[in-house]
């Protein structure tokens, strides 16, 4: 979905009033040349493969090849809506991703501003590294860390934390409700570092003179943050949020499959579109149905991101993405 966003941004440029596209190209030759590698990269890696979406409407037969296989309409999409799981996976996917976007924004910006206030360079860098480190861990490793914490026998939480609090040990992997909290905690722990670094970069772009002027006028630290930092950071917050909204229908497979140990009793609160599709097609290995699921996710993502962008445009047109 990022690509659609980027591509639309590219496409919107030459539309300025003038003497047409070719004139524009001629005028900004060097800029277009700079754009060319990325453009080709996107074209080859993201746009050309889009032709493959026809597989979603075909009964694929290797002997006939993709183009000559039979058309079967929307049959490949049926399994997504067939059972009562459809509601569950849609709710979970949308709910968790919305929550993650919100947490990523609030906690990310808060951390970034707090870190920005740490004036001692060594400490600031140390904190930044600590927050960023989990981002580089594989989800498999994270899954085992969580398992070490929560496993039924000898898990850290069951063996030390709960007894210390005088609470009886519980079986985390068969308590679906607990995961509504556990998953966001794991997500924040793992991913927040990336957002923090992004927003820190945005903060360093803010002119120091603004703060000096505000200080002279007698603005307190909190007032400075409220009236200078946050408004100047808003465009960046909108862009990152819009981009994540574009993939709101795609769940982090590692988080929902590995970290939960694919425990059946947790599906009520942990099953998302990606895990459902994986489990459903593991037996049938049906490329057509897998493509159908992917296309469905992309389409909904595209619609939602367009909607969000439209809403942003209504509220503050200068922050619109395209």
């Amino acid at each position: 979905m990022q690509n659609t966003v980027a591509a639309s941004a590219i496409a919107s440029k030459p539309e300025k009033k003038g003497r047409g596209f070719l004139h524009e190209v001629n005028k900004n030759k060097s800029l277009f040349l700079l754009m060319l590698p990325t453009f080709l990269f996107l074209l080859i890696n993201n746009y050309i493969p889009m032709l493959g979406t026809i597989i979603a409407f075909k009964d694929l037969d290797y002997a006939k090849g993709i183009l000559k296989s039979d058309w079967i309409g929307f049959k490949n999409f049926e399994f997504l809506f067939k059972s009562d799981a459809a509601f569950r996976i849609t709710r979970n996917t949308l709910g968790y991703n919305a929550l993650f976007i919100f947490l990523g924004l609030v906690i990310g910006v808060t951390f970034a501003i707090a870190l920005n206030e740490v004036k001692q360079k060594f400490l600031s860098k140390t904190y930044q590294t600590i927050v960023f480190l989990p981002y580089f861990l594989s989800m498999i490793v994270v899954a085992y860390l969580v398992y070490a914490m929560l496993k039924p026998e000898n898990g850290f939480v069951n063996k030390f934390v709960l007894p210390a609090l005088g609470v009886e040990a519980m079986d985390w992997y068969s308590s679906p409700n607990a995961w509504i909290i556990i998953l966001p905690v794991v997500w924040v722990w793992k991913y927040i570092g990336y957002g923090v670094v992004l927003y820190l970069a945005g903060l360093t772009g803010i002119d120091e003179e603004l703060y000096e002027a505000a200080a002279i006028d007698g603005a307190k630290r909190w007032q400075q943050i409220k009236s200078i930092t946050i408004p100047l950071l808003t465009p960046l917050m909108i862009i990152t949020t819009l981009i994540s909204i574009g993939s709101i229908f795609r769940a982090d497979f590692g988080l929902f499959y590995q970290v939960t140990q694919d425990a059946g009793m947790l599906y009520q609160t942990t099953d998302v579109i990606d895990t459902y599709v994986y489990r459903g097609l593991l037996i049938s290995n049906d490329i057509g149905m897998a493509s159908a699921a992917g296309l469905y996710q992309s389409l909904i993502g595209f619609i939602i991101v367009s909607l969000a962008n439209w809403v942003v445009g209504k509220i503050s047109p200068e922050n619109k993405l395209y």
Binding site: L33, L36, L40, L43, I44, I48, P49, L51, G52, L60, D61, Y62, A63, K64, G65, I66, L67, K68, K75, E78, F79, K82, S83, D84, A85, K151, P152, E153, D171, Y173, S174, Q261, D262, A263, G264, M265, Y267, D271, Y276, R279, G280, L281, L282, I283, S284, N285, D286, I287, M289
Partner: protein, 526 residues
């Protein structure tokens, strides 16, 4: 000037590149077709007409490279062993081989990718638990006709005999089964030390209730030992599998009762299933089953640590010794119930096969290669154990061990533990700790086996694939938790059954019933 020129050239190059990529995407499927067409032409016009002569003399065959996909963890000395194999192959069928070896963690993906992209290759390992029938339905494999068998693999045809029929899909053969045990029963593997210490008599086990006193004794006497060790698909309830026959090789609903009629049941609704669930729950609550039974993924620490009394296994003669080799201490096995007969159905035959790809450029040669693997002792053992005196040494005529100073991890080449994926287990050397009569015992085992009534039937899941996707999610959600006794039966079991209904289980059962009835009618079975 020069800058502009290079820019233009670069642009032109990019354009050409982009176009080439676009075209190749479409050509991928097209060229696969034309190549196949071409190769069938040559094989009908050239190869087949005088194949017999070529086959026996081996000299008239054009040099050919066989591309094979074989599941095994990557081996350091693969190149050396390939050279040795090539020496033998060149002499026998004037072919060389390119072996693509991948561990099971990635094997399936690699083969599926090769199939989906139309890559030309010749042979690959396939199995019913690895989407064999889906690949057949999608035309990934070449049909092995009777003429091809007679021409290129007469010896294998004679050896495998009646079991070839079990491999057929709609009366057509698409893969040659590995020669090994073609039957199985479910049973228990037990830690021998504990069995001896507590004088447990395993020969009298008939029902789950017979096991309980043993679990109790060991639970009381051996703290830290799990009396019944449960892992994914290895639960006490799994012992019921000796009563049922899976119709499609998976644990989705829809089974036959063994040795009865052609009626398809939903095993999850049968009374003995529910009874077994209650027993499992009882055992779990009494602490006979490991607490992490619902989610366990890695069993090796507990298995290698010897932390259990019983665990469920699919058995064949010598299975306990095979496992003992990897666990590192003696084990003993018993069928459950103890007097159950081995059973053979397409599930047991189709669990290890070699198929010829649709994209193979010389299908006859591919089949000749399979024939050699099945009947050429030298070739089969080179594949399995590597080079003599480098990777293994002979202890006697048919018994081998690692070369001095080497073991399973330090050797440069070994397929030990994975040979069952390949060729013929009956002509293979045995390992020092194995029963030297293994081959004979396997042959007897196959002879004793009770044959399934639907041997030769294979289920086509196309009409119900939508339901199948939904049902497999439901099964994954509930079965392991229920069968391991980890959750309350009274509240969870009804939810499981109603979720199955909502996912369309009745349609799946009806489809299985319909196909089996049609098959039975067409083949005159009663």
């Amino acid at each position: 000037m020069s800058k502009r020129l290079t820019g233009k050239i670069a642009k032109a190059l990019y354009a050409v590149l982009a176009m080439a990529l676009t075209l190749s995407l479409f050509a991928g499927c097209g060229s696969g077709n034309s190549k196949e067409g071409a190769s069938t032409v040559t094989s009908t016009s050239g190869d087949s007409s005088n194949a017999a002569a070529e086959n026996s003399s081996g000299l008239k065959l054009e040099p050919y490279e066989i591309k094979a996909y074989i599941p095994n963890s990557p081996q350091n000395d693969l190149e050396l062993v390939t050279a040795e194999i090539n020496k033998q192959l060149q002499q026998k069928i004037n072919a060389t081989i390119k072996i693509n070896m991948y561990g099971f963690d990635s094997y399936q993906d690699k083969v599926n990718l090769a199939i989906a992209s139309g890559e030309p290759f010749d042979v690959c390992f396939s199995a019913n638990w690895m989407q064999y029938s889906q690949n057949v339905a999608k035309n990934a494999f070449t049909e092995i006709t009777d003429e091809m068998l007679d021409r290129d693999a007469p010896q294998t045809k004679a050896n495998v005999g009646r079991f070839l029929d079990s491999c057929k899909v709609d009366g057509k053969l698409f893969a040659i089964p590995t020669e090994k045990e073609f039957a199985a029963y479910y049973g228990l593997v037990a830690k021998k030390e504990l069995v001896d210490k507590y004088n447990l008599d395993l020969t009298k086990l008939k029902t789950l209730a017979d096991i309980e006193p043993m679990l109790k004794t060991v639970k009381e006497g051996e703290p830290g030992i799990y009396p019944f060790y449960v892992y994914k698909n290895g639960t006490p309830v799994g012992l019921l599998l000796n009563t049922f026959e899976m119709v499609d090789g998976s644990n989705l609903p829809g089974v036959l009762r063994r040795n009865t009629d052609f009626k398809v049941y939903n095993q999850y609704e049968e009374p003995e299933y529910k009874e077994a669930l209650k027993i499992a729950r009882d055992w779990f609550q009494k602490g006979y089953i490991n607490k992490n039974a619902a989610t366990i993924t890695d069993t090796s620490p507990d298995e290698k640590g010897g932390k259990f009394l019983f665990e469920l296994q699919v058995l064949k003669p010598g299975k306990d010794n095979e496992l003992a080799q990897s666990y590192g201490y003696p084990l003993t096995q018993t069928a459950f119930p103890a007097d159950v007969k081995p059973y053979t159905s397409c599930n047991e035959v189709q669990n290890s096969m070699m198929a010829i790809s649709r994209t193979s450029e010389d299908k006859d040669r591919a089949l000749m290669f399979i024939e050699l693997l099945h009947n050429d002792k030298e070739l089969m053992n080179t594949f399995a154990f590597g080079i003599e005196n480098k990777h293994y040494v002979k202890k006697s005529e048919n018994v081998v061990d690692f070369a001095p100073g080497l073991n399973a991890t330090s050797t440069g080449y070994s397929m030990v533990g994975m040979q069952w994926t390949l060729g013929n287990q009956l002509i293979e050397y045995t390992w020092t700790n194995e029963d030297p009569d293994k081959a004979q015992k396997l042959k007897d085992f196959n002879k004793d086996a009770v044959e399934s009534k639907i041997s030769g039937f294979s289920f086509n899941s196309e009409p119900v694939k939508t339901e199948q996707a939904a049902i497999s999610n439901v099964v994954k959600q509930y079965v392991q938790s229920l069968e391991s006794g980890s959750v309350d039966i009274d509240s969870v079991y009804p939810k499981f059954i109603s979720a199955l209904k909502a996912a369309g289980v009745d349609k799946l059962i009806a489809e299985k019933q319909k196909q089996i009835d049609e098959w039975a009618a067409a083949n005159g079975k009663k």
